[in-house]
Symmetry: C2
Subunit: 221 residues, 2 copies
DNA sequence: ATATAATATGACTCAAAGGTCATATGACCC
DNA sequence: GGGTCATATGACCTTTGAGTCATATTATAT
């Protein structure tokens, strides 16, 4: 937790530090991120930084916590609206919201993705593992519920599918930044791209890629 | 490339250095991996290390290149045997072989996975990006071929599916180390576990998780 | 035995990091 | 003005890292 001093700072200054820090982490990764560079960029003294934060880890943890809060605040109300829909509609909404948030906060999102992907990261245990449990529980319950409603194959392994849906969740964001944002700069509107990607992923999770063997598939996506 | 001196070394000494280095990278990650610690562990002088390698990056690149060669040597002949089988049989064989190799070389495999997952890694560009192109090309051709044979839905996006199959390939290894190796120490034989995992992943990619809507599904896995 | 080439060595340099601390500044109240 | 508190400062300390180099050792050849 940052020290009280940090929260007493003028909003502009606080935001400057946060923005610069995110940039630093995104550009150099955690280990190579330098407090010296950050304070220079912010035009604050080294000592001041340590009035605000315990250390580098404290800084990163603050940024991630803040992001989690912002994301939750953005996602929750939208997700509530579809909470009674079928599984794939909910999943699709989750992907769309996640992608939209990433598009609106690209650097923070990429920073978080880095942490999410490297188990060696000094904050992985404290931040990721702690939340992962909640995610798996949420997904498992959702899956169970949807199986009961007859929307999913009853023979799936809950733990496995939870795992893979989380992994694919990460991959969607990656795919968005790598392929869509990476190549052409101005294609369609962002929202269209995002919806296309979400549809592709959900469609994949839903039906796989094998040619249907006789049965008709009614697409409700 | 390591210097000639390194390859002139006695096999045992060379292997010791490689093993210690892999351990170091796996334990601390690239940035925090220390040449000082490595040479101490090997009981060689700092200067000797720099007779063998240009620098830390050179060392890691050597280890990854060697792994790639070992893996290729192990995988290729097995993969040849199923080259005319249907898509999912080939994919399944790919997963099984990859998992077996990882099980036999766990530390090297985990080291490689780390690199694969972090785009900030100093060797990502040179190593991963270079090979990625080949992987995508291979998968795209395989997909095209299989679509022509009527095994896959013709409406899939080749780029997207190549991407996701690569991502899932990574996830299988993760899943293996996290869940299977992580929990119980001695369950069934390794091979059984591996085959189970490969089946789950291929089944997922093949059929997705939605309950089939009327059509019967003939499982040939 | 001597000369030449290959290899081994670890003290050393230089740079950069994280983190501390005594001091300075400024805001606010009496 | 005088006193108190929160905040700001940057020189400084310690540690650690990567990488160098003059020198010592060993092996090979003649």
């Amino acid at each position: 937790m940052p020290k009280e001093t940090f929260f007493n700072l003028a909003e502009a200054k606080r935001k400057l530090i946060e923005d610069v820090a995110v940039d630093e982490f995104v550009t150099y990764g955690y280990d190579k991120a330098s407090i010296n560079r950050i304070v220079k960029s912010c035009n604050i003294a080294k000592g001041s930084f340590y009035q605000y934060f315990e250390d580098k880890k404290d800084l990163l943890k603050h940024l991630l916590t803040k992001m989690a809060q912002d994301k939750a605040k953005y996602v929750s109300p939208h997700l509530l609206k579809v909470k009674d829909a079928d599984f794939f509609t909910i999943l699709r909404e989750m992907y769309i919201l996640g992608l939209k948030f990433s598009a609106d906060n690209p650097r923070v999102a990429q920073m978080a993705n880095q942490v999410l992907k490297s188990k060696h990261h000094p904050v992985y245990q404290e931040i990721v593992n702690a939340n992962m449990e909640a995610v798996y529980t949420y997904l498992s319950n959702l899956l169970k519920h949807s199986i009961a409603k007859g929307e999913l194959r009853p023979d799936i392994d809950l733990r496995f599918v939870s795992y893979i849906i989380s992994a694919i969740n990460l991959a969607t964001v990656e795919y968005y930044f790598d392929i869509v944002k990476g190549k052409e700069v101005n294609m369609g509107s962002f929202d269209e791209d995002i919806i296309d990607i979400a549809n592709m992923f959900v469609d994949f999770i839903k039906k796989g890629i094998a040619k249907p063997t006789g049965g008709n598939d009614n697409d409700q996506g």
